[in-house]
């Protein structure tokens, strides 16, 4: 199981991976994403290619960990801020 830092994850996403694009499809995250410059986010989304579906899985909020299940991979990233955003979106 790959272990990623938040920075590494964001770097990977900006390099063309689909993770952020899929995550921002969640209603709560969309609101968060709108906090960023709208034109940048839309540009990122339009450039992103979601080759296969992706699921983000938060097992325990306190850990700050999110598992991303995509293809036959599981990628775990440590991102308490994103975990909080997901929890807020799920309320």
């Amino acid at each position: 199981m790959a272990k990623l830092t938040r920075n590494g994850f964001l770097k990977q996403a900006s390099a063309g991976a689909a993770t952020i694009g899929a995550l921002t499809a969640l209603p709560g995250l969309a609101a968060t994403a709108h906090a960023a410059p709208k034109t940048t986010v839309e540009a990122d989304l339009s450039a992103a290619t979601l080759r296969e579906p992706l699921v983000a899985y938060v097992r325990e909020a306190a850990s700050g960990e999110i598992s991303l299940l995509v293809g036959t991979r599981e990628i775990t990233l440590h991102n308490p801020e994103l975990v909080m955003q997901l929890i807020r979106a799920a309320r």
Partner: protein, 454 residues
């Protein structure tokens, strides 16, 4: 059952529920080993219109360890996909299926075989056809021909994946009714007159994955050993089924269900009846997720099997010596978890070292017997269970007698087995047509027309 519906969770997932595992030197091609893993327990032959098939979302694997560490050195993987000719009919077939490419066969399965060795994956064959299920004389008029056409030769390796007649025989309705053995039930704690046993599985089918490979593909140095005392002659095998970690249900934009994440083992099997009767209820689901290399955590189940304690209770005054025996069962640990060392049974060993692991250990240097005995090693046939396992071995009786104490003297000469220990059995003899003499060795499945479920 051997490993049919043996744990709570996997009993709800038949296509991933491995029911039996066989490993034996092929009787008609003695430089090869045949490995068979079965799935889908208790297939009623008339179970249409959606007849049985392998799971497209399941990774089926057969593993071989040839270094004694209970870690796979060679793995064969099988992945299936289904093709539907006409989605606008409910019919499995729209006329007689007379060939594997028959236009009348509406729902077909194909598979890919991959070998993983030294971390390298090699596709051995792809788009290999499975046969249909044996529907009946109008739909599958020459089933043996169809099944024969579904044996694929992959450059010295033979494979078959499809429906077969169940090979494992047992009076399951009796044994799970508080350990009843009909021929001896007059001696049971709740007695009734003795009767003949019932072969519960004589008319049910399974789905088999069978592969016959040269022995040299499985041994650690690529040799074909001829000396049974040579440690290189012993291999350990087991099978597993895995599912992806995540399943999303009902997203029709994604063709219904969606599977994501790494493969996660949901079923495994080597010796018959291990997760069935040796592993306790609270650990069965967990056991199915674990690897043989970690089986030391389950050794207590072999050292002090619950069934050995139950027999003297269920059959009062029949097993006094067994009841008085309290030492850890070193005989069962050897048979099930390490293999039998040299010097215990003359002319035989299948010891893989001290690593405690549920692996089916096969000494490939021991040739098939001219007149095989279903009783295997305890019946004087060193080519039979627990030296691997052949399709016709009477593993229920062998294991029952072992648990009842007949094998204790192999490791403890002071013990005298009870007289009944060498007699307990359901005394079943499978019909002659239950098996084939050639690959894939399990018999032609019962057809749905002639074999109603009652």
């Amino acid at each position: 059952m051997s490993s049919h519906r043996e744990a709570p969770e996997i009993s709800k997932d038949p296509v991933a529920d491995n029911t039996d595992f066989y490993a034996f030197v092929s009787p008609d091609m003695q430089n090869t080993v045949t490995l068979i893993s079965n799935y889908i327990p208790f297939e009623a032959p008339d179970g249409g219109p959606n007849y049985y098939e392998f799971g497209e979302d399941v990774l089926y694997e057969i593993h071989i360890d040839n270094t004694g560490d209970a870690v796979a050195d060679v793995t064969y993987q099988f992945r299936f996909h289904t093709e539907v000719r006409n989605p606008n009919t409910f019919l499995y077939n729209t006329g007689p299926i007379t060939s594997l490419d028959s236009p009348n066969w509406n729902r077909r399965q194909f598979y890919t075989v991959t070998r993983v060795k030294n971390g390298k994956s090699t596709v051995l064959g792809s788009h290999l056809a499975s046969p249909p299920c044996n529907v009946g004389p109008r739909s599958t008029p020459d089933y043996a021909m169809l099944a024969g056409a579904a044996v694929h030769n992959l450059g010295g390796i033979s494979v078959f994946a499809g429906q077969r007649l169940e090979g494992f025989y047992i009076d399951v309705g009796a044994i799970f009714d508080l350990g009843d053995l009909r021929p001896f039930q007059n001696l049971h704690l709740i007695p009734t007159p003795a009767t003949l046993a019932v072969d519960s599985t004589k008319a049910v089918n399974v789905h088999s994955i069978a592969i016959r490979v040269p022995i040299s593909h499985l041994t650690r140095d690529g040799s074909t050993p001829t000396n049974q005392a040579d440690s290189r002659a012993v291999i350990g095998g087991w099978c597993t089924a895995s599912r992806q970690k995540m399943r999303m249900m009902g997203d029709m934009r994604m063709s219904g269900n969606m599977h994501l994440g790494p493969w996660t083992q949901v079923s495994r099997m080597a010796h018959p009846l291990i997760n069935e009767v040796v592993v306790p209820m609270g650990k069965k689901d967990f056991w199915n997720t674990t690897a043989p290399k970690d089986d030391a955590q389950f050794v207590a189940g072999a050292q002090h099997p619950e069934l050995a304690g139950l027999l003297p209770v269920l059959y009062p005054k029949v097993f006094p010596n067994l009841a008085a025996y309290t030492a850890p069962r070193a005989d069962l640990v050897a048979i099930l978890m390490t293999g039998i060392p040299a010097g215990i049974v003359p002319g035989f060993q299948n010891f893989t070292g001290k690593t405690l692991a549920d692996m089916l250990r096969l000494n490939v240097a021991i040739p098939p017997a001219a007149k095989p005995s279903p009783a295997g090693v305890v019946g004087g046939d060193l080519a039979g269970y627990p030296n691997g396992r052949r399709v016709f071995d009477d593993v229920f009786t062998i294991e029952l007698r072992a648990i009842a104490g007949v094998t204790i003297p192999l490791v403890d000469k002071t013990f005298t087995p009870d007289a009944a220990a060498s007699k307990v059995s359901d005394n079943l003899t499978p019909a002659a047509d239950r098996y084939l003499s050639t690959f894939p060795y399990l018999g032609t499945p019962k057809d749905g027309f002639n074999t109603p479920s009652n």
